[in-house]
């Protein structure tokens, strides 16, 4: 155990860390240690914070920056450090610049606007399930259902041709692979950026879609349009896709919870919050750097220029907030989870993610009452080294 006030032992922070044997839904034990100092791969000392209060405090405190260009910003790998030289999206900027850019896109993700999309999302879900069922059993829930649904939705919103999905999904996968070196990260990001810049240029003067609208603004450079549109495309499909397949697997592994959800479908919205908490797919830790000395209520001090990784998965199992936090309980009020992050950078697309997950899971459970794994649970392959956790495939029958 490391004392908060005298952090003495410098251990290394690695990603990915192994999860406990047989517990692929639980955060790696190494990420559930009390707050402490660690060293990174490049020898930089850095803080790792794991309890709910610290994580929430860091993410909502403007003295902690998300801008990778600040000295001391911590990087998980040499590949991640490659992002320093790239045009930042709003995710990697602080206010007021962050707010200026983000507010150009928030209007598209209003709760009421996404609610209006619910029937369209339902149709996309129904059609994906129809196609999967028509193809026959067994099916791979990841490629036949979990990826197509959010990809189709975000493509419609952005105005990106879905026919290009194999191309941008492959680049996304490479970009989000933590083992990718600097050259691979650069190449994947450049590929996505060039793709989006070309699309934006071709959409000049078109009325529909977020990309066309951003491209039409005279207060954005083409580089800013491309960087922010790439972020929306990535965040719009990788996250919900992985949450959908992991949620299906988690429910199949918890038959009592699955049965309850089938019997009480009105629990679906709350169950989605609980699955977001329980699975916390942003599992690598969010990086920040302190811009000035910060002292927390409990005496923890972080110095100006020191890096911090906050571990969302560990915070979402904090027993102070979530009793029996290691249990999946679809009846729990989990709304205070940090799966979407916290503070000004909290997920922009969360209203969309919620509705997609609610519709996808409700429809899956209703239409395929016999849904089951066709391989032993131990053989399911998890995307451990991806920055967004998920499954490589999920073979199912029904």
């Amino acid at each position: 155990m490391t004392s908060l006030h005298e952090p003495s032992e410098l251990a290394a922070l690695r990603f990915p860390e192994p999860r406990a044997e047989g517990c692929p839904f639980d955060p790696p034990p190494a990420y559930r240690q009390p707050a402490g100092r660690v060293t990174l791969w490049d020898g930089t000392p850095c803080w790792v914070l794991t309890d709910y209060r610290h994580v929430r405090a860091v993410l909502s405190d403007r003295r902690f920056s998300a801008d990778v260009r600040h000295p001391g910003f911590p990087f998980l790998s040499p590949g991640r450090r490659e992002l320093v030289g790239e045009q930042p999206s709003f995710l990697r900027l602080d206010d007021p610049e962050h707010q200026r850019l983000r507010r150009m896109m928030t209007g598209d993700f209003l709760v009421k606007r996404i609610e209006q999309l619910r029937p369209r999302i339902q149709r996309i879900v129904d059609e994906a399930l129809d196609a999967m069922v028509a193809k026959g059993q067994p099916a791979d829930l990841v490629t036949d259902f979990a990826f197509p649904v959010p990809s189709l939705v975000i493509c419609e919103l952005l105005g990106v041709p879905y026919d290009d999905h194999e191309y941008f999904q492959e680049l996304s996968r490479r970009l989000l692979d933590s083992t990718a070196g600097p050259a691979a990260v650069s190449e994947a990001l450049d590929g996505l950026t060039d793709y989006m810049a070309g699309l934006a240029a071709s959409k000049q003067g078109e009325p529909d879609g977020i990309v066309a609208r951003l491209a039409a603004r005279d207060d954005l450079t083409p580089e800013e349009v491309a960087a922010n549109a790439v972020l929306l495309l990535l965040a719009g499909h990788e996250t919900t896709a992985n949450m959908t397949s992991l949620s299906a697997l988690a429910l199949l592994q918890h038959p009592d919870q699955l049965a309850r959800l089938r019997a009480e479908p009105e629990l679906i919205p709350g169950a989605v919050e609980e699955l977001l908490r329980y699975l916390t797919i942003v599992h690598a830790g969010l990086p920040r750097v302190a811009l000035e000395d910060v002292e927390f209520d409990d005496g923890l001090r972080i110095g100006a220029g020191e890096g911090v990784f906050v571990m969302l998965g560990a915070a979402n199992r904090d027993e102070e907030l979530f009793a029996s936090g290691d249990q999946l309980d679809v009846g729990r009020d989990a709304r205070r989870h940090l799966a979407f992050g916290f503070g000004v950078h909290q997920c922009l697309g969360q209203p969309l993610a919620r509705v997609e997950l609610q519709v996808a899971l409700a429809t899956l459970l209703r239409r395929l009452p016999g849904l089951r794994l066709t391989v032993p649970f131990e053989e399911v392959r998890f995307r451990s080294s991806a920055l967004i956790y998920g499954l490589h495939e999920l073979p199912v029958a029904w």
Partner: protein
């Protein structure tokens, strides 16, 4: 209970609208919080406390009138 909102701190997460839809709205243009009523009935107070706790930007301030 009195409610105030700080639009500059708002990051348009929509948590308040989901939690207390009769008290909060989002502007059509950029999703910035709009206050529909500043002194909601006691029946809404529990929703309001949840909304304030969930707000990622710390944009919602509640003042307990009796304290």
């Amino acid at each position: 209970m009195h409610v105030t909102v700080d639009q500059d701190r708002c990051c348009s997460s929509g948590q308040c609208v989901l939690t207390a839809p009769t008290v909060f709205d989002q502007s059509d243009e950029d999703g910035v919080v709009l206050l529909l009523q500043a002194d909601p009935a006691p029946a809404l107070h529990s929703q309001l406390r949840t909304a304030a706790a969930l707000c990622p930007g710390g944009a919602i301030t509640l003042t307990e009138a009796d304290r």
